[in-house]
């Protein structure tokens, strides 16, 4: 009896084994190593000294003065807040730009939709670094945007619009990099939307705006939430855009991690920053899972009725 009950469970486990091994090896182990390193002492020449130390986390909020006293310093906290702010802004703008694109594609004849989706994903086939460099040419001094102003004499020889090396440039870069992953999930939920509901709404005296607000948005919500999370997470950890377009002076969490490992050679601190980043990501995903469960419970109730 017990054996027969156990066998399928065992078999299921065996079947899942390859996946578990892959996830364990390529996800859990690296994260565990990272967590471990964040609690070790930094070796000034790179790598770590194998001695437990909470120094990396302390370093976040405090500095040691000459007398070895802890003094509060807000530098890194500001970087976290900046990162969150820029990531939220980029996500919202991605949503504002991405939604109409997704809607437009969803309203095309079925035959054309795949072509549009393909076009949307094309930039993905190109190296992100190269694409970000392109923005330097567009936004930079004597770039595509500045030149016409110069020709028209609106800009003096030594003046600049100052588009580059700013939060503006970073956000533009982030939007450009991540807009496809906003468009795709929204498109996926809009494509399933029955557009007869839009007619029904108009039939019931709704203006276009009301229909949008009360029918289209609520039904596209799963896609909007998924797209926003998918954009928010990589924005938070981005380092190419702050590096190239922000001039490396306006750091974000991602660039901080990169800087600690590549330049400052403070591995524990880099790992600690990565852990903090991971915490935000996990919080995000938990919120999403919660929302999904609530939605699921609702439709689950539907299925049982």
């Amino acid at each position: 009896m017990i054996a027969s009950a156990r066998t399928p469970a065992l078999r299921r486990l065996l079947g899942l084994l390859p996946a578990l091994v892959v996830i364990g090896l390529f996800m859990l182990v690296p994260v565990a190593i990272m967590a471990l390193y964040s609690f070790l002492e930094a070796n000034p020449f790179g790598g770590v000294v194998w001695r437990f130390s909470p120094e990396a986390y302390v370093q976040f909020l405090f500095e040691r003065d000459l007398a070895d006293n802890l003094v509060f310093q807000s530098g890194y906290l500001i970087i976290i807040l900046r990162s969150l702010g820029l990531a939220v802004l980029a996500t919202i703008l991605c949503l504002i730009v991405g939604f109409p694109i997704a809607y437009f594609i969803a309203r095309q004849p079925a035959r054309l939709r795949n072509i549009w989706i393909y076009l949307i994903t094309i930039p993905f086939w190109t190296n992100q670094l190269v694409r970000t460099f392109a923005w330097i040419i567009i936004l930079g001094r004597n770039g595509t945007i500045e030149l016409p102003f110069r020709w028209l004499g609106l800009l003096g020889a030594d003046d600049t619009l100052g588009l580059m090396y700013s939060d503006f440039a970073i956000v533009i870069g982030l939007i450009y990099a991540f807009i496809p992953i906003m468009v795709l999930p929204i498109y996926a939920s809009l494509e399933k939307l029955d557009f007869r509901l839009v007619e029904a709404s108009a039939d019931l005296y709704s203006s276009t705006f009301e229909t949008f607000r009360r029918v289209i948005i609520p039904l596209a919500k799963p896609g909007i939430v998924a797209g926003s999370i998918l954009v928010f997470i990589p924005c938070l950890g981005a380092f190419i855009q702050p590096d190239l377009l922000g001039g490396g002076k306006k750091l974000m969490l991602g660039s901080l991690v990169q800087f600690q490992f590549a330049t400052a050679r403070n591995w524990p601190f880099g790992a600690a920053v990565a852990m903090i980043l991971l915490t935000f990501v996990v919080l995000c995903l938990l919120w999403y899972a919660q929302a999904a469960r609530r939605a699921g419970a609702q439709s689950g109730a539907l299925a049982h009725a």
Binding site: E199, A200, S201, A202, L204, Y205, S206, L219, A301, A305
Partner: protein, 379 residues
């Protein structure tokens, strides 16, 4: 614009002192989809007038343009040519959300993310009605369609018949001047469909709203409508009461689309006092009322409903024939009787208490055709 809609709805209640107004006037409407030679002409010159407070049915086979006409009335499609007016006002430029017309969609199109009550409240809310009034309307509408108990459910939690009722309640809640129904019963099973017929008719009486009902089901059309427009390939073939349509079909299409019919091709030999003497191809002769414009020598089609023929034992009276095949349908029995014409005459016999079917295949019988049963079709 909002209060204007409200006025529409309030002006709704029929005024008994006035002659019945025209609710909808469709004049010379043509609808083409696409351009050039590839264009599909869904409606070719359709004209009809639907009266206030009428249960009007558009009846025709699938693809004849019923939905297209309904969508034009609702404001989802623009006409290619012609004009549509609602209570005397040309509504060509009026978008769907400004027409005091509501639709019960073929597949209901209920909002899946809203409860039944929210669905029903949707229209009155958009019209800016007071909250208290909306609550009352929703309660009244749900009661009207017997769905009070389901107010908090979502559409996915309802059966097809229940969804249909909610769709009806939702469309009636704003109290439109005209309710458009696109094959609302087609997704229901037979018993429910029959029950809903009576309810719809009763609902139309109770609300006093003009109903424009689309169906391809002739029984549905005959049982509910005040008047029917029979359509075929984008054209109106005939408009009339169910009796007129069934008894006096305008042409062969109408006669064969509604109910069963026998057609006999014949020639007019002579007309005296409005009565025509006709001779069929095989030499049978019939006397019947001449169609207007019929002259001796004309080729005409004679038309006869199967249930208007009585089968009797062979005798002097009536048309001699022999039963070829029988189809037992329980309530009635359909006989195919060879009368020497190209095709046999279909005769319907009722299943009576005196023992089912007294005739069998191969029997010689005499067919007695009622005085006014045989009709002449010009087309």
């Amino acid at each position: 614009m909002l209060h204007r809609q409200r006025d529409f709805a309030e002006a709704m209640s029929p005024d008994p002192t006035m002659e019945r107004k025209t609710a909808i006037d469709v004049a010379g409407v043509v609808k083409r989809f696409g351009h050039g030679p590839a264009a599909v002409v869904a409606l070719k010159d359709v004209s009809l007038a639907i009266r206030d407070n009428e249960f009007f049915t558009l009846l025709g086979p699938s693809g004849c343009g019923k939905t297209t006409l309904l969508r034009i009335l609702a404001g989802f499609e623009a006409v290619s040519e012609g004009a549509v007016s609602l209570y005397g006002e040309n509504i060509a430029g009026l978008p769907a959300n400004r027409r005091s017309v509501n639709t019960v969609f073929q597949h209901y199109a209920l909002f899946p993310h809203m409860t039944v009550a929210e669905n029903v409240a949707y229209g009155p809310q958009r019209l800016g009605r007071p909250v208290k009034e909306i609550a009352e309307t929703v309660a009244r509408m749900l009661q009207l369609v017997k769905m009070e108990k389901f107010a908090e459910r979502r559409p996915a939690q309802l059966s097809g018949g229940q969804q249909q009722r909610v769709a009806l309640a939702r469309a009636l809640a704003p109290h439109p001047k005209v309710l458009l129904l696109d094959e609302p019963l087609s997704a229901l099973d037979l018993k429910l469909r029959q029950a809903m017929r009576a309810e719809l008719k009763q609902l139309q009486r109770a609300t006093g709203i003009t109903f424009v009902f689309v169906t391809h089901d002739q029984e549905e059309a005959l049982s509910m409508s005040d008047r029917i427009a029979v359509m075929s390939e984008g054209e109106v073939q005939q408009i009339g009461t169910p009796t007129e349509i069934y008894e006096y079909p305008a042409n062969r299409f109408v006669a064969s689309f509604i109910g069963d019919a026998n057609f006999i091709v014949a020639q007019i030999d002579g007309i005296t006092g409005g009565m025509a003497k006709c001779r069929s191809v095989r030499g049978l002769s019939f006397t019947l009322a001449a169609a207007p414009g019929g002259k001796p020598g004309d080729k005409v089609t004679l038309f006869l409903r199967p249930e208007k023929v009585r089968i009797e034992a062979p005798g002097d009276a009536g048309l001699a024939g022999m039963i070829q095949t029988m189809e037992y349908l329980g309530q009635s029995i359909f006989y195919q009787v060879d009368i020497g014409e190209d095709s046999p005459l279909i005769v319907a016999g009722r299943n009576r208490d005196d023992g089912g079917t007294p005739y069998k295949t191969g029997d010689r019988v005499s067919l007695v055709i009622g005085a006014d049963a045989l009709r002449m079709l010009v087309a």
